[in-house]
């Protein structure tokens, strides 16, 4: 790890905040079996956005000691009191996500009563629905919540639901469930769950019975459930408003970065390929609309091969003495560490053929960033990075074309959030606008950028369409 990172994060650094920073969190508390998850699902459905994640507090149960383990199997362990939940880890996780960082969510096994060695990675959601009987219990969490919901239900209904769920999904027997209910669940409700009611923003009086409450309201409950519908609608509207605000801020911040960047010179870590006759000739063929598809692909691959070879100059090497077949020695270099690549989809995937010419078995990740046509805001839709990417000596980030630099800014941020040091990232693109390049390097002054050709500002993306033919 480099120690200079703190030096660079001085106040002069231009910052980029991705739209998933400062995410919205909705907390849903309520008795076991009250229908919290139905409410959560209903909110997810109404928001209808790809970045909404339900985080179930059960994942944060503490691993039991062997003594507790025995108790648990005898249904004598209290899973409903706050002590059974690892609030510290949960708070840390939520704080990381608030900062826009990636978080590892523990996986808890209900049959073994312990955390599994694996974790689930959660990254870049914009809305989290935290659901658990004690979701509003810890003040550190309450402070982070945008909306606090308490779901109330008749205790008999709760018990019924709990029996069904625990038998079906968690492999328990009915006797044990009932024992646990009267010994722990009910007392805990009075002590810890019910008091959360007072601090909640919205109380949903009896959960949501499947979709009936929302869609097909029975006449005798119409008023009752209609109110729930309005509550949920309020929640959804509130979150939507917040998201819109953030999206506007993000677009605005990108615009401002462009203004700052316009005043500076193209920095030395931006390497524009020299205008050799062959290079210009290839660029001419590639920009001629009449060029046949077959020729286009051939010259594109050839041109990108040159960019990739140039990018490999940026990776690390160590001195190495080798012996030739005649027994002479030569003091040369060996590459140090793994060079991997990440393609920004779809444009970056045009460049993989050329990449594989230089590194046939290159480890490759992908990230799909699409620009929202209504407001020009880049959006992260999909992410699959190679394991241990933070240990790779160099990560080549590829995009066929870069205009405003919004997608590149976001992709670099994604890599950094996954532990890749700035200095190890080499962004490679066939054509880029000067403003976008300045914007990118103003925010990330230590990445290297390889550019085939400087193009005019605001050039629409067309290279990938030409390469793939659609």
């Amino acid at each position: 790890m480099e120690s200079i990172s703190t030096f660079y994060s001085s106040s002069t650094e231009v910052r980029y905040a991705p739209p998933w920073q400062d995410l919205s969190i909705i907390g849903i508390a309520g008795s076991s079996g009250s229908g919290k998850s139905s409410v959560a699902m209903e909110i997810v459905k109404s928001l209808d956005l790809p970045w909404v994640v339900i985080l179930v507090m059960d994942s944060f149960y503490k691993t039991l000691t062997s003594e507790q383990h025995h108790k648990a199997h005898a249904n004598e362990y209290d899973f409903d009191c706050p002590e059974s939940i690892d609030f510290d880890v949960l708070v840390e996780t939520l704080r990381d996500l608030k900062k826009g960082k990636k978080a590892d969510i523990p996986i808890y096994s209900f049959t073994e009563h312990q955390r599994q060695p694996d974790t689930t990675t959660l990254y870049s959601p914009r809305v989290i629905i935290l659901e658990g009987i004690l979701a509003l219990h810890d003040p550190r969490i309450v402070e982070m919540l945008d909306v606090k919901i308490f779901v109330e239900a008749d205790m008999d209904v709760c018990l019924g639901r709990r029996i069904l769920r625990d038998v079906r999904e968690r492999g328990r027997d009915i006797e044990g469930i009932i024992k646990q209910w009267f010994e722990f669940v009910k007392p805990s409700y009075t002590h810890f769950v019910e008091p959360q009611r007072a601090i909640s923003d919205i109380i949903i009086p009896r959960g949501i019975e499947n979709t009936t409450a929302i869609g097909m309201q029975s006449p005798e409950h119409a008023g009752f459930e209609h109110r729930n519908l309005i509550y949920l609608d309020m929640v959804v509207k509130h979150i939507q408003r917040k998201l819109q605000e953030k999206s506007d801020n993000h677009t605005e911040a990108l615009r401002n970065l462009g203004l700052i960047a316009a005043e500076v010179e193209l920095p030395s870590n931006v390497h524009v390929l020299p205008s050799t006759p062959q290079f210009i000739g290839m660029n001419t063929i590639l920009q001629t609309p009449e060029t046949e598809q077959e020729d286009y692909i051939f010259y594109f691959d050839r041109l990108v091969s040159i960019l990739i070879e140039k990018a490999l100059d940026m990776t690390s090497y160590v001195a190495a003495n080798v012996e030739t077949p005649q027994g002479n020695t030569y003091l040369g270099l060996h590459p140090r560490g793994i060079v991997s690549a990440v393609a920004i989809l779809r444009g970056g995937s045009c460049m993989e053929t050329a990449l594989k010419r230089s590194i046939p078995d290159c480890i490759t990740g992908r990230v799909l960033i699409q620009t929202n046509e209504s407001n020009d805001e880049p959006e992260l839709h999909y992410l699959k990075l190679p394991p241990k990417i933070e240990e790779h000596a160099t990560v080549i980030l590829m995009d066929s074309q870069m205009s405003s630099g919004g997608a590149a800014l976001m992709a670099v941020r994604v890599l950094i959030d996954h532990g890749v040091e700035q200095g190890r990232i080499v962004f490679v693109t066939c054509a880029a606008g000067e403003r976008g390049l300045k914007r990118l390097t103003a925010v990330y002054p230590r990445i290297n950028v390889i550019v085939g050709r400087i193009e005019e500002e605001g050039e629409p993306r067309w290279i990938e369409k030409r390469y793939f033919g659609c």
Binding site: T276, I280, P289, E309, V322, Q326, Y330, H334, W462
Partner: protein, 245 residues
């Protein structure tokens, strides 16, 4: 053993300009020569690492082929830059005008058998349908001088630019004979580009003086020749390592 003409090769820190010298690993780089018609590829850490791979006797044949092809592509790309172009203005797919260039002049490859044939794939990677002629030159058992045994060249070679291919440029005996053959067929000296991976300083010097208008493109000028006229440190017999070892 080195003969007298061979001084030590320069060693220096190699790496991108922006990197401070202390962070650049030291490696032996190409010797410099002062002939305008000799072009040595930029000594980037990447190129040095590729050369290190093909010099290493432990490198497997598959890797040898792969890494030499990568260097050959860099040589071909550099070589092609010496071909003429004419300005051409076009309208791009998004309706902008771009002042570009168009490739002028027909080209062909000529490989000196058999090691030179190993460079054909790299040439084809950059120029798909290029014509390729062949020349076989062997050492005459009696005179010990190189002798032309066979050639098959495009009939219109006199109208073409010729990329002459031979990976190891030691004494330049075969290359000289090959160039003489090409000139005999009517190819002007200035339209010949000789591409090779590793050259000896003496070979390059004699050649540059004998054919002042011909251009040599190489990736590395090595330390010198041993008493068997092998390049040192070199990489062994290129043909053997590429085809059979």
């Amino acid at each position: 053993m080195a003969t007298k003409e061979t001084g030590p090769s320069p060693a220096q820190g190699v790496g991108p300009l922006y990197r401070p010298d202390g962070e650049k690993p030291t490696a032996t780089v190409s010797k410099e020569v002062s002939y305008d018609n000799v072009h040595v590829l930029p000594q980037t850490p990447q190129l040095i690492a590729l050369l290190t791979m093909i010099r290493d006797k432990r490198t497997s044949r598959a890797d040898f082929i792969f890494y030499s092809n990568r260097i050959i592509r860099l040589l071909v790309e550099e070589g092609l830059n010496h071909l003429p172009v004419v300005e051409q203005s076009i309208t791009t797919p998004v309706g902008r005008s771009y002042l570009g260039v168009k490739f002028e002049g027909k080209i062909c490859g000529v490989s000196i058998m058999r090691a030179g044939e190993a460079m054909e794939q790299g040439l084809r990677d950059c120029c798909r349908s290029v014509r390729i002629g062949k020349i076989l030159i062997q050492r005459d058992e009696e005179t010990c001088m190189p002798k032309l045994f066979y050639d098959k060249l495009p009939t219109d070679i006199a109208n073409r630019w010729v990329l002459l291919l031979d990976p190891m440029f030691a004494t330049g005996g075969s290359a000289t004979l090959a160039v003489e053959t090409l000139i005999e067929r009517g190819v002007p000296e200035e339209r010949i580009l000789f591409l090779n991976l590793i050259a000896s300083p003496s070979g390059v010097a004699e050649f540059a003086e004998r054919f002042p208008k011909l251009r040599v493109v190489t990736s590395f000028i090595d330390q010198g020749l041993d008493e068997k006229k092998y390049i040192i440190p070199g990489l062994g017999d290129f043909g053997d390592r590429y085809y059979s070892m």
